[in-house]
Symmetry: C2
Subunit: 258 residues, 2 copies
DNA sequence: CGCCAGGTTGACACTTTTCAAGCCGCGTGG
DNA sequence: CCACGCGGCTTGAAAAGTGTCAACCTGGCG
């Protein structure tokens, strides 16, 4: 079994943490990025990639707990997660809030800001992280010149719509254990797509953040974890999770077991 | 107090129902459409509008209960609701489903299909309805030529992302009565934007459809309606709703009253 | 006229939340 | 180096909210 996929064990992050970053380190090259297959460059040919490289010209580091952006701030760029992970959180006038998503390497953040030209949620780093900044007006110009880029960006936005309707389903019709199973399977599948072990990993968010995302209280999350562990589906050691029986998790997710 | 805003009382729909539609009736003209301020044309200048008119060239009538499109069907167009209303519904492998939204005149439908090039949900007409068809590949081409159109389409998609995160909030943190209050206020505000009375209207969806959207059972929806009526916040006569105390509804929505 | 989908209401069951107590692990400061 | 404090987690018991099941009502339509 491979090592737990704690994101801060990623070699490129360890390097960034140990050495002083210079400007040249900050130069982005999508064409060489190990995330190019799952990030914005997906499906672009080399010439188109070169255009994208001109567009994505800065990176930004965000410390654990800090915000990449906050609700209400003027919108001027979207972001691709290069290293680390984020939660997106909407806060409601009366103070209640909800985590609307977790983003990991290669995923795009901030598309909620385009409509009103200001951000609609907070993006908070769950660990020391790094993003590629994609100035929106330049993305727009480039999309007009490079048809494939425009098309791909539409797809990325559309998939965000589909992702959210999946979460609505989760919140609207599933019970606590089904939600947690869905969450774990989704995480597992995304980690696998990034070359991490899908069966053993570190949870970045707290029980409370998971609960907020899944529409349940932290105690209920904890109980569901304990139940899964008692039934031998997973092994839980704080934030370290090992999936022991994927099929049983899938059965719960698909409502076959009560 | 104005008449209830039952959508099938709209004059243009009554006309369409009574007379045989000819091809020339089907000719679309966004520039003259009474929805141009809230639909895709919003913010375009006359020259840009003319471009859009070339793009949007057909309409389609959908009878109550019929599908505009279904999950899994190949995606080739998005749609603007011209007359009537729709529900969007995602169905899950085990048969459970969830209404993810209701669309009324001027709203755009089908953007969930772009990402996977096939539709991700069913769009079902809640009444006899009519849509303007916007072929996606042509929209893409046009967006490249007419910058304002591309920008506006991005905004429309972004707002759909924001709308969905609002629903996630509703499903994740609100209780039954808060959800229903949020639903009624949202409906009221959208009707007002279309020139209908915000305080008196006909509900198109059934209690079950409202419940599915709000993540609760139809009995709970019914009880919440009864509670609001008993407290003098609204008057309910089947699907006919009259809002008597908007501020009290807002207080419930904003969690100020328990 | 009678049927049936849609809606209401009551009683009860079940799930999840709430409140409370206590544990564990980690980082800080003595 | 160890003690302490605290955030994060777990677990239990009771309360609250919502779902389930069932009976009944109502209005529209064939």
């Amino acid at each position: 079994m491979s090592k737990p996929a704690s994101l801060d064990e990623r070699p490129e992050f360890a390097r960034a943490r140990q050495t002083q970053m210079t400007l040249s380190d900050l130069k982005v090259a999508c064409a060489n990025c190990n995330l190019r297959e799952i990030c914005l460059p997906a499906g672009l040919n080399p010439a188109e990639l070169a255009q994208l490289d001109k567009l994505v010209n800065t990176r930004k580091k965000i410390k654990r707990g800090d915000a990449l952006y906050r609700s209400g701030e003027p919108f001027d760029a979207i972001y691709a997660v290069k290293v680390g992970s984020f939660k997106s959180r909407v806060t409601y006038e009366d103070g209640r809030d909800q985590v609307t998503g977790f983003s990991m390497a290669g995923e795009i953040l901030g598309m909620d800001g385009i409509g009103q030209e200001k951000h609609n949620c907070d993006a908070i780093a769950l660990e020391d992280s790094e993003v590629c900044c994609i100035p929106y007006t330049r993305l727009e110009e480039c999309s007009r010149e490079v048809a494939a880029l425009g098309r791909h960006f539409h797809k990325v936005m559309s998939r965000e719509i589909v992702r959210e309707s999946g979460v609505m389903m989760l919140l609207g019709v599933m019970r606590a254990e089904e939600r947690l199973a869905a969450f774990l399977l989704n995480l597992s599948q995304r980690l696998a797509a990034r070359g991490f072990s899908p069966l053993e990993f570190h949870l970045r968010p707290t029980r409370e953040e998971i609960g907020s995302y899944l529409g349940m209280k932290l105690e209920t999350v904890s109980r569901a974890f304990s139940k899964f562990a008692a039934d031998g589906l997973i092994a839980v050691d704080q934030k370290h999770i090992r999936i022991l029986d994927v099929n049983a998790l899938r059965d719960i997710y698909a409502h076959h077991v009560h």
